[in-house]
Symmetry: C2
Amino acid sequence: MPYTYEYPHPAVTVDGVVFGYDEADLKVLLIQRDQPPYRGKWALPGGFVDMNESLEAAARRELEEETGVTELYLEQLYTFGEPKRDPRERVISVAYYALVKLADHTVRAASDARNVAWFPVANLPALAFDHEEILDVALRRLKGKIRYEPIGFELLPEKFPLSELQRLYETILEQPLDKRNFRKKILSMGLLADTEEIQQDVAHRAARLYRFDEPSYRRLKKAGFNFEL
Amino acid sequence: MPYTYEYPHPAVTVDGVVFGYDEADLKVLLIQRDQPPYRGKWALPGGFVDMNESLEAAARRELEEETGVTELYLEQLYTFGEPKRDPRERVISVAYYALVKLADHTVRAASDARNVAWFPVANLPALAFDHEEILDVALRRLKGKIRYEPIGFELLPEKFPLSELQRLYETILEQPLDKRNFRKKILSMGLLADTEEIQQDVAHRAARLYRFDEPSYRRLKKAGFNFEL
DNA sequence: TCAAAAGTGTTAACCATACACCCATGC
DNA sequence: GCATGGGTGTATGGTTAACACTTTTGA
């Protein structure tokens, strides 16, 4: 027991809410615990913060270690620290949420062989600790933020048809959007570049594929433009 | 040295960015440190989290102990945890920001006789640790949030004239607002109750005093109303 | 009577919404 | 040729933005 302090110190962990999206659903990445407490229960990936790494670095490391997910949009969400949230000892958890392009990231089981899987947020298992609350906060944040920051693109493949973008918004905001108005608005922003490509192998007229034009966005933003819906 | 752990644990603190407002300025509450490191420097009030209290309770307790400020709007801001942000040991700081009615809170020097004072945010001294960064994040949050949540009232006295509300918004948003449009909009929301009182002892026509009607706001909110600007 | 801030309406431009049909493609 | 989703324009109503003068009060 080599680490001693004059005053008691809580443990500090990071937990990650990783969102992905496929044609049908918004999904979240969970791991199945193989140690008590909550052995066998599903939980958010996470772990202890090392003494020499920043909180964000810890979150990235844990996500990579436990799920193989890398290269993601990551943002601090909220810090959870109720005294009894972990039955073992006082644990402060700094939660992050992440957005990944599902197609690029086939998750692999973690090195320690725990189960890893995507669950639709509309149909989740019971979660360990206070992870349902964390997920809830993450969902509210995503729902709020997607309306005034262009982060939805982080959940889509590099190239996507407008209908897929619309479906993503409809799924996350939980409300239908008018097709013509949606297209008009999003195209008028000048954030999407036409890739000059079209869908392949679809059983109907193939849609144009667009891509989020990051440099344009930065330019517009500097000029005072504010993304909204 | 009675507290030992199998793995190293960082220390966890809370820091508070307390905002106040008077006719002229947005202000922030700072304390002058009387211990190294940064002895003599101004800093945000804060301190260690006790093992049996929640993070928010810790923030409230520290603010009360160090500045005498109580009964305030308090919200978690962000968690700062860069490895070297405190030269003594690894310290994770969960920052909160608070809004208080300046008139109600003449600050008292803390029990341990440290200096406490309000500073205009436009004219701050150099701060200890990474507290300038924390303050910066708090300002951005306040600026964003005041536009879509009715939190500005937390900074004003119970009863206030519309012009003072407008000045508050102009100060925080750092942009002038049109008087007629501002009044039209804010009054049309139905959130302000006319107190039937008027200003006293002013050297010009006395303005009506209004008060934020919390029950009305809750009712409207439940009915789907969204405050904006 | 002057200074200082309170209080008050109208118009024009813009933006959001609602809404329906033809097109291209693969089966 | 039919089913599937892609793609397109207009009209209306509501919201925002711009703008100037009269009123009240105390000094």
